[in-house]
């Protein structure tokens, strides 16, 4: 774990660390935590390194690299015996209670702890307590190192102070005795567009690495070794995977209004707006539009979709609240648009930079009036990629808005994967009529059909002049309040839910893990997947009989399939990140089967494997209450 004030280079440190591990064939999972703040408040990166793919964190911290005193104060209790804390030597006298950026609630808990234990209020005292518990404390004279770097690189000290992040990386890898050349490669790659900065940081890295080796020759008990690798691997965040998925899926217009944590995806697309396409002279681009608000973001995307461009918008809860009227219009006019919805915690502005899964019900029900929509939920970064691409196929084949739910945990977590396989995706556009198809008969945009899907024309198509309206309408798209037409038109639209249910294979809608006939069945959706899977593996090894159903298409829910699976289970355990157990509720509504246990969390921090494992184990051992609420995470 690496922590420091926002703006001090935590992200670059994490990136260098992860790349260096990646070059050595190691897999990484990491998540970023930050405040709704630009500079100064505490942020950290919590990362796990493994010789195989990992997709969740654990509670234990083995190595804490603190850029500042606050990081030590906040995370010291997470470091396990045998672990280590890298700390600025000059900060040891800091009085913890006087750190100005601590939240009042945290400060109060700290004060109580100091009073209870009788510890003196200083970093040194806290560290001494940790040391007694078996934690290595590694004081580093950052300022001294920086002075040397400034001298070596021939730069002013003020510039060199920005290398603090790389210093901690260097110290960390030095303590872990990892191959220094891989770290150097990672530094150069991270600063590839700024050679001068890269050079300074390489100097800093070497200085720190050598300092660690020299000053702590015995290391800290952990070593990091290279792993074999026979494939191309990438290391990316969830929002980047979504952007790549959109590119694969043929997205040509993306609209957005800046909102955390969705905006990074749109910025990535804009940076890569000119695409690389096939060799036969094709051209491709994603036009990214920053609109004045989310009302405009969704309606702009709808307008683009009407012309035949694959169009999407990206937002989080407060933005989606504004998009709801547009969503209804798209539903009523059967417009294929994709809304990528990064959930964050709490209502209103809530926890702008923290995680939650509070918005499932909202995504399913948003807008007045009945109309069909599809709600997809990705469980990990790889699924973010494929689902983002698939969402366009679903939207166009069924002419419905597709809401692709992801969340803050996925948006800002990163993970190592083998290169994604793009060959398993193909573009399916559904029923579209062109100029020559339209000769003769009068075109009805909303023709009543068996499947509920009416062949579509793009605006501008010759012979296809037709009308769209937010009002209820007849087959031509003209306003109609006729009672018979109203019944037929609602039924035509809603029929699409049955068609979707029938046509999309269940393997695309649900993932199944573990024992299919298990008496204990976990149900969940979205980002808890990684933590659940790992806990499932451990518990299965311990002899528990356990299965896990991860829903990816939550609306329309493959209810018959799920009912059949759930009927066999004796205990159904709902795991999700909201207060109500929203998915459990949906499941009960659709299948009639109640969940027996809830494992919930809503403190703004994603579930870890450790806490999911513990909670599941207490259920399986018959010792858990019906409802457990998890709390880990600073």
């Amino acid at each position: 774990m690496a922590g420091g004030p926002q703006g001090s280079g935590i992200d670059s440190a994490a990136s260098i660390f992860a790349r260096a591990c990646g070059y050595g064939g190691l897999y990484i999972y990491g998540k970023r935590e930050y405040h709704s703040n630009i500079k100064g408040l505490h942020s950290y990166f919590h990362m796990r390194i493994s010789s195989r793919e990992v997709s969740a964190n654990v509670n234990d911290v083995n190595l804490l690299a603190a850029f500042d005193a606050e990081t030590v104060v906040r995370h010291i209790n997470e470091v396990v015996p045998g672990g280590a804390i890298i700390v600025d030597k000059d900060k040891l006298d800091t009085k913890a209670l006087e750190i100005p950026s601590l939240d009042p609630e945290f400060r109060e808990r700290l004060r109580e702890h100091l009073e209870k234990t009788g510890l003196e209020d200083s970093l040194n005292a806290l560290l001494e307590e940790a040391r007694k518990a078996g934690v290595h404390v590694i004081p580093v004279p950052y300022l001294e190192l920086m002075n040397q770097i400034a001298k070596q690189a021939g730069m002013e000290l003020s510039k060199v102070t920005r290398t603090i992040n790389v210093l901690t990386v260097g110290i960390s890898f030095g303590l872990l005795n990892y191959d220094e050349s891989l770290v150097e490669k990672a530094v150069r790659a991270t600063f590839s567009d700024k050679p001068e900065v890269a050079e300074m940081n390489v100097v800093a890295l070497r200085e720190a690495y050598n300092y660690a080796k020299k000053s702590f020759p015995e290391g800290i008990g952990y070593k990091l070794e290279k792993n074999g690798m026979g494939e191309n691997r990438l290391f990316l965040q969830g929002h980047q995977a979504v952007a790549l998925g959109k590119v694969l899926g043929g997205c040509r217009v993306q609209t957005y209004y800046p909102i955390t944590p969705a905006q990074d995806e749109s910025e990535f697309l804009e940076t890569h707006e000119i695409l690389r396409t096939g060799t036969d002279g094709e051209e491709g681009s994603v036009v990214v539009i920053q609109t004045e608000d989310e009302l405009a973001a969704i309606t702009w995307a709808i307008g683009a979709a009407l012309t035949g461009a694959r169009a999407a918008t990206s937002t989080s809860g407060p933005g989606f609240s504004l998009m709801v009227e547009g969503l209804g219009w798209a539903g009523n006019n059967e417009v294929p648009i994709v809304i990528t919805y990064y959930q964050r915690g709490a209502p209103s502005t809530g926890l702008p930079t923290r995680h939650g899964q509070d918005d499932l019900r909202f995504a399913i029900h948003a807008s007045h009036g009945d109309f069909p929509r599809i709600v997809l939920a990705s469980g990990d970064i790889r699924e973010c990629f494929y689902d983002a691409a698939k969402a366009f196929n679903y939207a166009e084949r069924y002419q419905v808005p597709v809401i692709h739910l992801t969340d803050k945990a996925l948006a800002n977590s990163s993970q190592t994967y083998a290169f994604f396989d793009t060959a398993q995706y193909s573009i399916q556009r559904g029923s579209i009529l062109g100029e020559t198809d339209l000769q003769g008969e009068e075109y009805k945009r909303f023709r009543f059909t068996e499947s509920g899907v009416s062949p579509r024309v793009f605006l501008g198509t010759k012979n296809g002049v037709s009308w769209l309206t937010g009002n209820e309408h007849n087959e031509f798209g003209h306003r109609s309040e006729d009672s018979v037409n109203r019944t037929q038109m609602v039924e035509k639209r809603m029929k699409k839910l049955e068609t979707i249910d029938k046509e999309i294979p269940v393997e695309e809608k649900v993932n199944f893990f573990g024992n299919e006939n298990a008496e204990n069945m976990i149900v969940s959706w979205g980002s808890p997947k990684g933590a659940i899977l790992e806990a499932l593996g451990r518990l299965t090894q311990e002899g528990f009989n356990l299965g896990f159903i991860q829903a990816r298409m939550i609306h329309p829910l493959p209810e018959d399939y799920l009912a059949e699976k759930l009927r066999r289970a004796e205990r159904i355990i709902d795991v999700e990140m909201n207060y109500l157990g929203q998915f459990g509720g949906v499941l009960r509504e659709k299948t009639g089967i109640p969940t027996d246990f809830h494992i919930l969390k809503y403190n703004g921090r994603p579930m870890t494997t450790t806490e999911v494992y513990n909670a599941l184990k207490s259920v399986l051992s018959g010792q858990a209450p019906k409802r457990q609420v998890l709390n880990y995470g600073a």
Binding site: Y23, L234, L244, I274, R276, L306, T307, A309
Partner: protein, 320 residues
């Protein structure tokens, strides 16, 4: 064969009140499109909510009847995805300047090449006559319980300061003048704004046809003295031909936009084609944009495989 105004008619029943200014606007629009020779399938009429939003289905062109206040972003989305289409945007004063005011202002910053017709009758007709954002302070039209408590927005001035590059005003019952304004708006390169003064015979008993046409103030010969007059008839040149002229022409237009009451100017207040359109700005970044815009790009090959290659993007994240 040349196009006729009747080629733009639909069979759909036109359900406006007798005497409504909307009839004149609909007629003028059909005439303008016919004279411009715009084939119906190339035109998209995007409209807002209210009586002014209904032309989208009275016209035999692609009609998109949108949401209250959101007509501009819908239209901008259509036009920027397929710049080959001719976009006519139509909405009311409440739609554009009340619930849609944010979009009204921001559309000016972009200058998408479209024509925006704003029906200005001072009231919300479909909900039975509440004050719209253009009704003046203290005015009590007949269905208001109390005199209007808000100041009015000045549509032309707001358009000018927001960046619209063409601003004109016409009057619903001067059909030929309105037709000319629409034609000029369509031919203008950039976002054209046309405010259309429009009596509402049902709810606005203050700014009536008689009031605009001065039937309440007769000269010695008993001839009405219209309040509306044409900028064409005075020494007034709205066209910016050199960037250096811009501040002066803009100020002159703002001064004209403030005239109201006894003298209400009609005509082109301001026209500036030196400003780049939004489409041109996109084309500066994506060189093939105008030739091969989003709506026209081939996104898959015969096998359904995406035309977009991903390896170069994967390589950015490569850690092996």
């Amino acid at each position: 064969m040349a196009l006729k105004p009747s080629d733009y008619r639909t069979d759909f029943f036109v359900d406006w009140c007798p005497g409504c200014g909307n009839y004149g606007i609909l007629t003028a629009l059909r005439m303008a499109l016919a004279e411009l020779g715009l084939e119906p399938h190339r035109v998209v009429l995007v409209s807002g909510i209210g009586q002014s939003g209904k032309p989208a289905e009275f016209m035999n062109v692609y009609g998109v009847h949108t949401l209250h206040g959101r007509v501009l972003p819908f239209a901008e989305g259509i036009k920027t995805a397929n710049p080959g289409l001719e976009l006519i945007v139509e909405g009311g004063d409440g739609d554009g300047l009340g619930i849609g005011a944010g979009h009204f202002v921001n559309a000016g910053r972009r200058n998408v090449d479209m024509t925006y017709l704003l029906h200005n009758n001072g009231v919300y007709g479909l909900t039975k006559g509440q004050a719209s954002p253009t009704l003046r302070l203290g005015v009590k039209t007949k269905s208001l319980p109390q005199p209007n408590i808000n100041e009015a927005v000045n549509p032309i001035a707001l358009a000018l300061v927001s960046g619209y590059t063409f601003a004109a005003r016409s009057y619903a019952f001067e059909v030929n003048h309105l037709k000319e304004m629409i034609k000029q708006g369509v031919q203008h390169k950039g976002l054209a704004f046309i405010e259309i003064l429009q009596p509402c015979p049902t709810y606005n008993d203050i700014n009536t046809k008689e009031w605009y046409e001065g039937e309440d103030r007769l000269d010695q010969n008993g001839k009405p003295q219209p309040r509306i007059y044409q900028l064409d008839g005075i020494r007034y040149d709205p066209v910016v031909r050199d960037p250096a002229e811009e501040p002066e022409k803009m100020m002159a237009a703002l001064v004209k936009a403030r005239e109201w009451g006894d003298r209400i100017p009609l005509g082109v207040f301001y026209k500036n084609e030196l400003v780049t359109t939004f489409e041109e700005r996109i084309a500066q970044r994506i060189p093939f944009y105008l030739r091969n815009p989003p709506a026209k790009q081939k996104i898959s090959d015969e096998t359904g495989a995406s035309t977009a290659k991903l390896k170069w993007l994967f390589d950015e994240f490569k850690v092996s």
